[in-house]
């Protein structure tokens, strides 16, 4: 069946911004291909500088790629006719790693969640408030906290807030760029469960980007490895751990301190 989103041949080059800088052009994404089915999670593992954040930025529309195609629900987002980007924009959302930096310190929780609705001009004021409270409940935040500022929340609660904001426009694909990294282990588990529940409830697809293999394996339907701007491995989790192909994948697996036994998705 046709995937929800399919990326073909994506390319992104960072050139010098000023003529006097000596840095040569940097190839961040080199012919990237991937596909995610509706309701499924793809985990993309890579180290710093591998291009994973650039990929996230391109998919969400924050950075223009230099070449390639992004097919979303049968439409090429990068085709000339830029309006497609705007209409589809709300269907793909991004959750960042640092919850403190991702939330405006001056806005209350309710305002933060409401912002996407305001920008996209969805619904009346009353409808928006109701939706905001509903979202807060869905992510496990008490509605009485709606006027609190981000610094008054804990790290885990802030991340829940960020997820609520990402979901308020009812997207189909949520990109999680290291969204669990940096949280306490117990909190990671809680947020992970929340994400899985929401996936079941709303039929969301996730692109879970991380440098942490253990976490990725617990949620993924498909595993991928990104290395120096290229996708060097794509496999189901069982294949991935038993028969890794690319030397970089093998190196990653070899460096894991514990022998992994994954349990999510029945090992399929």
């Amino acid at each position: 069946m046709t995937p929800l989103i399919e990326v073909r041949g994506l390319r992104k080059v960072y050139t010098r911004t000023h003529w006097w800088q000596k840095r040569p052009p940097f190839l961040a994404l080199d012919n990237v291909d991937l596909a995610i089915q509706s309701g499924q999670t793809m985990a993309l593992v890579g180290e710093s500088g591998s291009g994973k954040t650039t990929l996230a930025m391109c998919l969400v529309g924050l950075e223009p790629p230099d070449a390639g195609e992004i097919w979303f629900e049968g439409k090429n987002l990068l085709a000339p006719g830029a309006n497609k980007r705007a209409k589809v924009g709300s269907e793909i959302q991004l959750v960042f790693q640092d919850s403190a930096g991702a939330l405006s310190p001056r806005m209350s929780a309710a305002q933060i969640i409401e912002e996407p609705l305001l920008i996209c001009r969805r619904g009346s004021s009353k409808e928006r408030s109701e939706l905001v409270l509903e979202m807060m409940g869905q992510v496990g935040l008490s509605p009485t906290w709606k006027d609190r500022l981000p610094h008054q929340f804990s790290g885990g609660q802030r991340q829940r807030l960020a997820i609520a904001r990402a979901l308020v426009l009812k997207p189909k694909l949520v990109i999680l760029d290291e969204a669990l990294t940096g949280l306490d282990l117990s909190i990671q588990g809680q947020i992970m469960n929340l994400l899985l529940d929401l996936q079941e409830l709303e039929g969301l697809s996730y692109l879970y980007i991380s440098h942490n293999l253990e976490l990725a394996a617990q949620v993924a339907h498909e595993m991928g490895v990104i290395y120096q701007g290229r996708i060097v491995e794509r496999a189901s989790p069982s294949e991935f751990f038993s028969h890794p192909h690319h030397p970089h994948t093998q190196a990653l697996l070899a460096s894991m301190p514990l022998r992994l036994t994954y349990s999510a998705h029945g090992g399929g």
Partner: protein, 339 residues
Amino acid sequence: MKQKYGMTILLICLGLLHLAVFAAGFLSPYDVAEQDRELPFAPPTRIHFVDARGALHLRPSVCLLVEDSAQFGAYHEDTQKCFPIRFLVDGPQYKLGAVLACTRHLFGVDPPARLFLMGTDGYGRDLFSRFLHGGQISLAAGLLATLLSLGIGVLLGTASGFFGGWLDAVVMRFGELFIALPWLYLLFALRAFLPLNINPSQAFLLLIAVIGSVGWARPARLIRGVVLSGKERHYVLAARSFGGSPLYLVRRHILPQTYSIILTQAVLLIPQYILAEVTLSFLGLGVGEPEPSWGNMLASVQQYHVLVSYWWMLLPGIALVPVFLGYVLLANTLQARAT
């Protein structure tokens, strides 16, 4: 705790100073143009609480000043003729806030006595009244020029930092020219290339324009820095990903990040610009006679005989110190808070 009270007290004092200048018409006993030809360069009037017979009074009084027949230009008091200082008296008409016409003044004495709290100048004009009114010009010039400067700085700095590219390069190079020159030389040059013989109200506006347009570069650079890093914050990126327009991003997320810099810059610039007006007027390039300004009131001190004999002509200059002190302390407090 103590710091919080300190800030409040400071703000109140500064506010009172500005209020006093605003209410110049009410607080000054005489009109700025009123000349007393009989009493040029009169020293500050002595205020007595004890009368000629040695009795103590609650109400202060003032004695008639008479020209000394023996020595030219000197005065002595005629202690037989004393007049009480009255409060809330009727006097020359003035406009409160340039709108409301009033005639009531805070204090005054009946003629022929004169109450010169700061003495008189060469034309016999009351320095105290001129000082308060001159303050209106100097303070207003400083405040308005700061507004102009910061306005330009915020506009160009935000545009420069947000859009980058050639706009950034052009604005920054242009700004470097302004920073590269010593500010007073720049003010002079700008002033030089503009008409010299203009009436005081034109001069006032011109002064604001010149001073304000010279100092935009440094605030612009600072704001550009804040905007450069601020626009990369993840919550700004998030808003962009929802489809926020550049105008929305700037208004809702980026400008608020600049507020604290704008405030600190304002507190630093206001006294500098007041001083710029005072300096230019002092040198004859700013507000000129007959309108008073703290600057042109000090100009006569440059003459040797004034410097030697009439010390009270320096008083307008000395009265600058509390204003500057207020702003300096405010800047200190703000900086201490920020760290």
